[in-house]
Every structure is written in structure tokens, then in C-alpha cells.
């Protein structure tokens, strides 16, 4: 084999590599095991339903498990940027894990689609990060509007003793002056606690007009059951982390009447025909439930799906400027994501701008309540 042939082969190899890299690579890190797995599994399920192309180009999703641990999420993110040379990253289902990925994404100038609400970010990190879920303030503002309309002046708060409990509490706190109410208890509990009697007794002693629970999933049921057992009569509000069928299964009769904000897809069938996301939400819910069982719909799978919808809208714009797999493409993709307008997702309508990397508005939330063992749209 002479030297010229070798050179030709090498050249061919380079061309082959370029051709292959027209494929877009997206790294996804989710906690499908560990304490966050009840959310991580539906997040992951949604990737079975997303299209095989992004903006017409084939796409490869590399989905790794971060065991709901921030350090594992950061490790996955580093692997994505160094080994897989991904064009964008998505993740994770826990706030601390998502924040860990955001750090890596910003360092390596890679667009990051955050799948959980994140705390306020510094400008250099926000630059590369786009947040799919509704900000906690947006969601809790629906709760605040409702309790204000019903004349509640004092609110008892009980939430998880973790970041989520803090996020919900802070959102409520920031909305309190406008809502004309005071938060009179700030109790905390853990998902694995066997009893919240102490916290509930304290709330009962303070006797607030309504109670807001900052838990998630089935973990949100424990305080409500204990409050109702002790004879608490006021309204009990939850947050968007609580809305799934398992919550009702665990809570039974005690959670009847629980009120929570959520994305439109949970009650897709009941939305008025004029609701902008009705068609997209309904279509996604039907496909999800045909794959994962009746009643399996949840907000989390919708976030994954909407994240992909954002990429799908941004990729064609970025492709005009550069080839996937290059730093230029990642920068172009970031710029394109910042300018997506009127993208209809399962949760709401996204309008990004340089200062708003979430882009959802009031159309991204509805209030639901539990009636006859089902989450129903509140009229």
C-alpha cells in the first residue's frame, strides 16, 4: 500500500465523518433511578414518542441515568460534551441535577434545555440555558389568584425539606404582598416521613384560612391526609409537582377537593376548543396513554416533549449557518432557541427572547382540582 493510497483513504475517512456528523446529537440526563425516579421515568418515557428527526435532520438522543444525583448529572454532562460532542443537552428531573448540568453547559458553550424549573441564574449561565417548565412563580400565581378571589388572608405552608420546598415557598412569599395574604407557618417534612402529626398540629394551632403544600407526586398526599384527619376545613392547595394519578390513588377520599396549578395537557379533553394548545396537548396525551396505559398522563413527559419541540423549531434556523457537531452550530442553535416564537407545546405557548429563556405566559397554566377521584379542570 503506497503513501498516496493511504492519504486518499484518510481523506475518504474525513469525508465519511463529516457526512455522519450531519446527524444531530442530543445528550439527555435523567434520574430514572434514585429518589427522583417517579418523575424521571415519565420524563424518559416521552423520548419514545418524539420524532426521529429534528428540523428534518436525523437525530440521536443519548439518554443516560443520573440516579437523581447532581454529581452524576454533572458527570453525564461532561461526557456529553467531551466524548459525544453533543449539539444540545437536556435534563434533568431534579432541580439540583439540572443546575449541575447548566454549569457544565455554560462552561462548554453548549445549549441546555432544562427540564425542571431552576432558581434564578447568573447571566452567563442563563445565556446557554432554556427552561421548559413554567417558572414556579407563574404556577403559584394561579393559586394566589384563586385564594385571593376566595378571600383568604392567612396561608399555612408545609413543604418538602429540600430545594423544591424552598422554591414553592419563595414563590408564594414573593406573591404574598400582591395577594394580600400572610404566610403564617413554614413547616417542612420529608417524603419518607412516617408521620407529619407535629407539623399538622402546629398548622392547626395557627389556624390559617388555607394551606399550601409544597410536596411533589404522592409525597404531597401525606400532609393533606393528616390535615383532614385532624378536621381541618379550609381549602388545601398543591403545586404542579403533585398532579398525577398516583397522588389520588394514595390519598383517596382525603384529597378530594385538592387544588393545584398544572400545564394544559393534564386536562386536555376538557379544554375549550379555543385553547391554543388543545390540539397538541390532546394528541400527546392520547399517544402517551396508548403506550403507557390509561391514566398515565403527567406533566413531566410533556416537558420532555416540549423541550424537543423547541429544538425542532430552532434546528432548521441553525442548520442554515453551520453543520451539526461544530461550535458554530451550537452557537447558532443557541441564538435560534432565543428567537423561537409561538411554538405550541403540550404545556403552553413558548415565546423566547434574550431576557426570557422560558417564554411561557398565562396560557401555560390552568387550575385543576380533584373531584370524584379525577383531576378536573376548574371552571
Amino acid at each position: 500500500m503506497n503513501r498516496r493510497l493511504l492519504a486518499a483513504l484518510a481523506l475518504a475517512g474525513v469525508f465519511a465523518a463529516t457526512a455522519a456528523s450531519a446527524e444531530i446529537t442530543v445528550g439527555v440526563s435523567l434520574g430514572s433511578t434514585g429518589p427522583g425516579s417517579s418523575l424521571g421515568i415519565p420524563y424518559k418515557n416521552a423520548f419514545q414518542l418524539v420524532p426521529k428527526t429534528l428540523g428534518g435532520e436525523p437525530v440521536k438522543y443519548i439518554i443516560l441515568d443520573d440516579q437523581s444525583k447532581p454529581d452524576e448529572a454533572a458527570k453525564n454532562a461532561r461526557k456529553f460534551v467531551t466524548e459525544d460532542k453533543v449539539d444540545a443537552m437536556m435534563g434533568s428531573n431534579g432541580v439540583p441535577s439540572a443546575v449541575a448540568m447548566i454549569q457544565v453547559a455554560a462552561e462548554n458553550k453548549t445549549p441546555m434545555i432544562a427540564l425542571t424549573p431552576v432558581p434564578p441564574l447568573s447571566p452567563d449561565r442563563l445565556h446557554w440555558t432554556f427552561v421548559v417548565p413554567q417558572p414556579t412563580e407563574l404556577m403559584m400565581s394561579a393559586v394566589v389568584e384563586h385564594l385571593k378571589a376566595h378571600g383568604a388572608k392567612s396561608v399555612g405552608y408545609i413543604g418538602f425539606s429540600d430545594t423544591w420546598g424552598d422554591l414553592v415557598h419563595n414563590a408564594l412569599q414573593s406573591l404574598a404582598p400582591a395577594g394580600g395574604f400572610k404566610i403564617i407557618t413554614n413547616e417542612r417534612y420529608a417524603r419518607a416521613d412516617t408521620s407529619v402529626t407535629g407539623q399538622v398540629l402546629k398548622i392547626m394551632a395557627a389556624n390559617p384560612d388555607v394551606v399550601v403544600v409544597g410536596g411533589s407526586g404522592t409525597g404531597g398526599a401525606l400532609p393533606q391526609i393528616a390535615l383532614r384527619e385532624r378536621g381541618y376545613k379550609g381549602a388545601i392547595y398543591h403545586n404542579h409537582g403533585t398532579v398525577n394519578l398516583a397522588f389520588i390513588k394514595v390519598g383517596g377520599k382525603a384529597v378530594e377537593g385538592a387544588i393545584a396549578p398544572t400545564g394544559a395537557l393534564i386536562v386536555a379533553e376538557e379544554l375549550p376548543a379555543s385553547f391554543p394548545t388543545k390540539k397538541v396537548s390532546l394528541d400527546f396525551v392520547k399517544r402517551y396513554e396508548s403506550s403507557f396505559g390509561a391514566g398515565s398522563r403527567n406533566a413531566f413527559a410533556g416537558y420532555s416533549y416540549d423541550g424537543v419541540a423547541l429544538l425542532n423549531a430552532a434546528v432548521p434556523v441553525a442548520l442554515k449557518k453551520a453543520k451539526p457537531g461544530t461550535p458554530e452550530f451550537r452557537e447558532a442553535l443557541r441564538a435560534a432557541l432565543e428567537n423561537v416564537k409561538n411554538i405550541i407545546g403540550t404545556h403552553g405557548v413558548y415565546n423566547m427572547s434574550a431576557s426570557n429563556h422560558n417564554g411561557l405566559d398565562d396560557r401555560g397554566r390552568v387550575l385543576v382540582d380533584v373531584s370524584n377521584g379525577q383531576w378536573r379542570l376548574m371552571k
Binding site: S161, T197, G198, G217, T218
Partner: protein
């Protein structure tokens, strides 16, 4: 804080403390007999509680796969040993204990699940599914290294804990479950409104403690366990096989775990990993009691329950920190007052 609230908190603390006390006893028992800190104790709680909730929902609990799979591994290990020793006579017994029994239990569960039988029968089925996991776990994880140091045994415990938690996630899923209450009845005593369920928890705990005492004082197996706990070498010299003691200790631990799980399933939401934290609090109770005396361990565990209940009223955000921090002064005090006895060598 009014007197009513104190009464409520005491009641709550005693009910939780009763569960911790059961677990403290199991941990102490296993530690005394095998020298292993039995971390997977909590998994029996989760497995039993989730199995019961699933049976009530008319579904086949994933515990059957763990049972049959674990039994098969145990059987393979024992068969290998029997063949190496050229003792095929042991084979029928191995197959009966590790293969046929789990399969039979799985069959019963499979048959019973869609029929939604009476609650007490379901509880018996749950015992049948969870209790055999104890001896199987001993055979697979502990027995091959039974003579190892306390540290190695602890590492085995951690490994067993991770394996069982992981399997729990696979078979039960990430969301929590809650089973129906045994009884919805409530009694009014003064300001207190005591649920029949919490009375049942305390009664069952007292009953189990009493039967354990009888077992250790009056039965030959109980005496064998005590002998092993007091002096392993001595017990072996008088003909008590260490394997039997270890296997028996883990069977009892699994039984206590299953009882705790069944008792607690209607009171709170149980996740595949909840048991670990409950077990840990039982462990704190056992340490408070000095890791040597059963009555002290039980009192320590009730103390943990009360402390937890009051701290959840006063400073709920720091509840876990408070509960786990009390280990430190107790350990300091114990290390200053007791002389360290070297009992590693045999």
C-alpha cells in the same frame, strides 16, 4: 404549646417509636448473632408494605420475582457445595427449601392477587413472600463470608441494601403506595382521638416483644441464638452450627421487618426506599440503648419516636438533623464510660 398538643405529640411519638423499637430489636438480634450491621432491614419493611398494597389493588407484587430469583441463586450455591462435597443426598432438601417453597409462595400470590381475598389472608401471603427472603439473603450474601471482620460484613450489608433497593425500584416503581387501614375505628379518650390502627401498632409491638422473650428464654433455638450471641466460638464448640444461627436470626429479622411493613403501610405512604430511613431510626434507637440490651434498645427507639415527634412540631426543617445528631453525644458518652473489649479474634 397546650397540653392537648403535648398529648397528641406523645401519642404520635409512641406509635412511630413502637415501629422503631421492633426494628431496633431486629438489628440488635442480627448484630449479636452475625456481627453484621443489618442495613437491609429496612427493605423488608418496604417490600412487605408495597406487596400488601399491590395485593389489595389486585396486582401481583414484584416481590415474587425477587423471592424466586434469590431462591434460585441460593439453591445454585448450595448445589455447588453439595456436588463438591460429593453429597447428593442434600439435593432434595436444597431444592425443597430454595426452589419449591418460593415457587409455591409465588404461585399462591399469583392465584390470590386478582381475587382480592380477605385482608388477613393477604397479610399471611405477604409474610410468606417476605420472610423467606431473610434466610435466602443470609445464604447468598452473608454465609460465604460469615467469619469476616465487622467492617467487611458491614460492606456486605450496604451491597445487599443497594441491590434490594434497586430491585424494589424495578418491581414497585418510583411512586409511593398506601394500603387500606385494618380498621377505621377511632376511640375518644379525653381530647385524644386514637385510631384503632395506632392501637394495633402498639399492641403488635408488645406482643412480638413478649414472644421474642419467650422464644429466647424457653425454646432450644432461642437458647442457641443467645449462646451464639454471647460467645460464637463457645457456641460452636458445644455444637451449635453458626450457619443455623445466622439463618435463623435473619429469618426473625425478615419477619419483624414484614410485621413493621404491614403495620405501617396504612399509616403513611411507603416508597421503595422508605424502609431504609425507618430502619435507620431503629438503628439510632438501638445505639441509644447501647447496642447490647434489648429492653434498652426498645426504650431508646421509643425515645427516638418521641424526639422526632416533638422536633417536627418545634423545628420541622431540622427534624432529621436533630434525630441523627443525638447519636454523637451518646457515642461520646459510651466511649468514655465503657472499656473497649477486643472480640474480633476467634
Amino acid at each position: 404549646m397546650s397540653f392537648d398538643i403535648v398529648l397528641w405529640l406523645v401519642q404520635d411519638g409512641i406509635v412511630n417509636g413502637a415501629i422503631y423499637a421492633l426494628l431496633a430489636l431486629a438489628l440488635l438480634l442480627v448484630f449479636a448473632v452475625t456481627r453484621a450491621i443489618f442495613v437491609p432491614q429496612g427493605e423488608f419493611i418496604s417490600y412487605a408494605a408495597l406487596s400488601l398494597a399491590l395485593l389489595q389493588a389486585g396486582k401481583l407484587p414484584g416481590t415474587v420475582y425477587v423471592l424466586v430469583g434469590g431462591g434460585a441463586i441460593a439453591a445454585l450455591l448450595d448445589i455447588a457445595v453439595a456436588l463438591r462435597d460429593r453429597a447428593p443426598g442434600r439435593l432434595p432438601r436444597i431444592l425443597a427449601v430454595y426452589v419449591l417453597l418460593p415457587l409455591a409462595m409465588a404461585g399462591i400470590a399469583w392465584w390470590a392477587a386478582p381475587r382480592k381475598l380477605d385482608m388477613w389472608i393477604q397479610v399471611l401471603i405477604v409474610f410468606g413472600l417476605v420472610v423467606p427472603l431473610g434466610p435466602i439473603l443470609y445464604r447468598v450474601a452473608y454465609r460465604p463470608l460469615a467469619g469476616a471482620s465487622v467492617l467487611v460484613l458491614f460492606i456486605i450489608s450496604m451491597a445487599a441494601h443497594y441491590v434490594l433497593t434497586g430491585l424494589g425500584l424495578v418491581f414497585f416503581g418510583g411512586e409511593g403506595l398506601r394500603s387500606q387501614a385494618f380498621s377505621d375505628a377511632h376511640f375518644k379518650i379525653g381530647v385524644l382521638n386514637i385510631s384503632a390502627q395506632s392501637v394495633l401498632v402498639v399492641l403488635a409491638t408488645v406482643l412480638i416483644m413478649a414472644s421474642l422473650w419467650l422464644f429466647f428464654e424457653h425454646s432450644i433455638y432461642g437458647k442457641a441464638l443467645r449462646a451464639t450471641a454471647i460467645n460464637r466460638v463457645g457456641a460452636r464448640l458445644v455444637g451449635i452450627p453458626a450457619e443455623l444461627s445466622g439463618s435463623l436470626a435473619l429469618t426473625l429479622a425478615a419477619f419483624i421487618g414484614a410485621v413493621s411493613g404491614v403495620l405501617i403501610a396504612p399509616i403513611t405512604t411507603i416508597y421503595y426506599d422508605t424502609g431504609f430511613l425507618i430502619g435507620l431510626k431503629g438503628f439510632v434507637g438501638a445505639i441509644l440503648g447501647g447496642m447490647g440490651s434489648y429492653p434498652l434498645a426498645a426504650i431508646g427507639a421509643v425515645g427516638v419516636g418521641l424526639l422526632e415527634s416533638f422536633s417536627s412540631f418545634w423545628a420541622s426543617a431540622f427534624k432529621e438533623s436533630i434525630v441523627f445528631t443525638i447519636i454523637i453525644p451518646v457515642l461520646v458518652w459510651r466511649s468514655l464510660t465503657t472499656r473497649h473489649v477486643e472480640d474480633e479474634e476467634e
